[in-house]
Amino acid sequence: MKGLLPLFLGIFGTFAFSWTGLIFIPNLQIGHLDPQTEEDGTDAYPSPRSGMAERGRQIYAANGCNYCHTQQVRADYAGSDLDRKWGIRRSAPRDYIFDRPVLLGKMRMGPDLANVGHRVPVTDQNAPAPSATTSTTTGAPVAGASPAPAPAASASPTVSPAPAAQTASAPPASAQNPTPSPSPSAPNEVVTAINGVPIPYTEAWHHRHLYSPRSITEDSDMPAFRFLYEKRQIAGQVAADALNFDESSTDAPPSGWEIVPTYEAKCLVAYLMSLDQSHSLKEVKTAAAPASPPAPGKQVK
């Protein structure tokens, strides 16, 4: 080959071609999406996350959670994501328009988390029913989208100020139900919970799981994130957000001590609880009922 110019042009050309085809054109297609709304402008989805949840995303990224957890549900023709109830529909570009960094992930050494703020625990038969035994944690406000503000400081496990909109008498844990999805699906959650269906992952569950994954799922190979928790001497009363352990648990701190989540841990959990793609999207077929806004989450495979 002779001559520098053809070589240079070719090198530049192939690069520009690749950029145009794989970046520029897709960006025209999916790079400028708006939230979906009803015709009257209500029921916007998705919406930006709260400050704590956004901070939680940074912590999620900083600790490399995305190396083992994906945040994308594949369609029914690929994999078993829907069968595993990791979502009620496949993920779409619009689900991520406020995400930065976007943390889709490419490895599943842990389950998919696209809907972890909405999902119910399915695989922990040997779990010590953490949401019932642990006390309520506080402090982490749920996603900004939540129409029903989480009870801010329901420290006692017996107190259950059910969100105002919900008339059914909720079991204690449903008070912590993040219900980050907009109102239409919220009543559903409460009803299914009453019918004995397990309630979604709670803040207490997440904290317990982050602190000691194998105390919840025996076979888990998730590293424990103990550095996000603080062990301290109990000053007077047990803190409202202290982790609650069974007496037999080897994770329990010595008496007189308690384990409390740091602010970072609370942010991380707020982020996890904000992950929810259960809202229907016009461009995606929801598995059972064709998209209508109050798509009943729980009945769908």
Partner: protein
């Protein structure tokens, strides 16, 4: 005089021996002196790149071994934030890609450029400064990741300030390399120079474009993932891959002392490589929330990349035909041919795992780790080892001290990476099968891959041993403790009948 005698190619001396040492006439001697001068001018910067690269290789290997153990023993050190799996893994990747692979690649590329442009290296201080800043960038980046400042984009985890330092360092190196190209002597541009020039130009465009699209004018939502994988893939192919292939195109003909089989084949291989390899990458996002056409285009490009693989492979094979026995003797040839063959394996695995029917099973499994290690280690790293075995003696004026150490290095690297890839390929497949069976609980899929991950840890030990052996040998060379023979260190004693095929 010492350096002069060590500059000839191993094989030319090999082939000369049985003929009773044909007398070199004057033009040959002039050429030798010229080469020696060029080699001497690259000495300081290239050795600096190599030394840094090997340092990062050692630290990165230790981190990898740690991360590998952490996967099946997750409770190790769980109270220390710096040592959590996600940070160690990202730090390992950053060190290997930017610390080891890029620095080794730049070292080799600089030396090759000087040789092929037949020009001595002017102002080596610019390159030394570049290397120093590059090291600083890697250090800042890895420190940032371990301190919890990862950006969350794979292969681009370094915090933005570290990326900026890397970029400045890179501009120093590149501006110099392109300048050298400007002052080259001779009309023809050898194949290796196409690849190197392309790599030197692609990298800054790629790096800058990605930086702008992720941090300066960030693209929306899932487009970040598109940019991310476009970057990661092109960094593998257009930067490291191009350097690796260019190096192989130099080393194989040089060591065996024959010209490349076909220039036309090489040209076809180069341009189809540039065209198709740069379009792959989106298959890593297969079945995700993206336009299907985009992913299909990448799958098609991956399949079409069989053309460059076949042409490059054929070209090397035809060049080597009849000379394969030389792999018994020349460390460079052995490592380089291993790398060149791995490049084919890497591409073929890449095609297989991107087919939709296959991706359904192996997407989101350890298979992708196997794939990256095939490319980054079995192909690129082995080619770099080969080039170091060739170049370092020409820089320090000594020959490698122990043939045994080279053999140990080769076999533990080859078996190490072979075992790792095998474990992860099979493990990934098993993991995918059990993940897709919704009647099994999810943890069964991770449990099913754990035995393979333990096997991978064993391979990690092998690779660690191999790298420490190599580093020790390299340090001996650096301190002038190599052999002062005029004949390169061969892996085995020469048996003349092997030399004349």
């Amino acid at each position: 005089m010492e350096t002069v005698t060590t500059t000839g190619s191993a094989a030319s001396r090999l082939t000369q021996q049985p003929q009773g040492g044909t007398e070199q006439v004057t033009p040959g001697e002039i050429e030798n002196v010229e080469r020696a001068l060029i080699d001497a001018s690259t000495r300081v910067p290239v050795l600096m790149f190599y030394t840094s690269a090997i340092f990062w290789l050692l630290v990165g290997t230790l981190l990898a071994a740690f991360a590998s153990f952490k996967l099946h023993s997750p409770d190790m050190f769980s109270g220390i934030s710096v040592l959590t799996f996600g940070r160690v893994r990202a730090a390992h990747m950053g060190m290997m890609v930017y610390g080891w692979a890029s620095m080794a690649g730049m070292g080799t590329a600089i030396w090759l450029m000087a040789r092929l442009c037949r020009t001595t290296l002017r102002h080596p201080l610019v390159l030394v400064t570049g290397a120093a800043f590059w090291n600083l960038g890697v250090l800042l980046g890895v420190g940032g990741i371990l301190a919890g400042q990862s950006t969350g984009y794979e292969w681009f985890e370094f915090p933005t300030y570290a990326g900026a330092v890397l970029f400045v360092a890179y501009l120093l190196v590149m501006s110099w390399a392109v300048l050298m190209f400007r002052f080259r002597r001779g009309d023809t541009i050898y194949i290796t120079q196409w690849y190197l020039l392309a790599a030197f130009l692609w990298f800054p465009w790629l790096f800058a474009a990605t930086h702008v699209m992720l941090f300066v004018v960030p693209v929306q939502g899932v487009m970040q993932a598109v940019v991310n994988w476009w970057f990661a893939n092109n960094l593998m192919f257009l930067w490291l891959g191009a350097i690796g292939l260019g190096t192989a195109y130099y080393m194989i003909p040089k060591v065996i002392g024959r010209p490349v089989y076909s220039y036309n084949l090489a040209a076809i291989g180069f341009w189809t490589y540039a065209l198709f390899a740069s379009w792959t990458g989106m298959q890593r996002l297969i079945d995700g929330p993206f336009p299907a056409w985009m992913i299909t285009a990448s799958i098609a490009a991956a399949i079409l990349s069989i053309i460059p693989v076949a042409t490059v492979g054929l070209n090397h094979h035809m060049t080597m035909r009849g000379y394969f026995p030389l792999m018994r003797y020349s460390p460079t040839l052995r490592f380089t041919v291993f790398g060149a063959i791995s490049y084919s394996a890497f591409s073929i695995v890449g095609i297989i795992i991107s087919l939709r029917s296959m991706a359904q099973i192996v997407h989101f499994t350890q298979m992708s780790v196997a794939y990256s290690h095939l490319g980054l280690y079995a192909f690129f790293t082995m080619v770099m080892f080969g080039s170091m075995y060739y170049i370092v003696p020409r820089l320090v004026g000594r020959e490698w001290r122990y043939a045994t150490l080279i053999k140990l290095h080769f076999w533990s690297s080859a078996y190490g990476v072979g075992l790792m890839v095998l474990m992860l390929l099979v493990g990934g497949f098993v993991q995918g099968l059990s993940m897709n069976d919704a009647s099994l609980s999810f943890t069964e899929s991770t449990q099913s891959v754990l035995p393979y991950l333990r096997g991978r840890s064993v391979s990690g030990i092998l690779l660690t041993v191999s790298h420490f052996i190599f580093a020790y040998h390299f340090v001996l060379m650096l301190f002038g403790l190599g052999r002062t023979a005029s004949v390169p260190t061969f892996l085995n004693p020469i048996e003349p009948e092997d030399v004349h095929p």
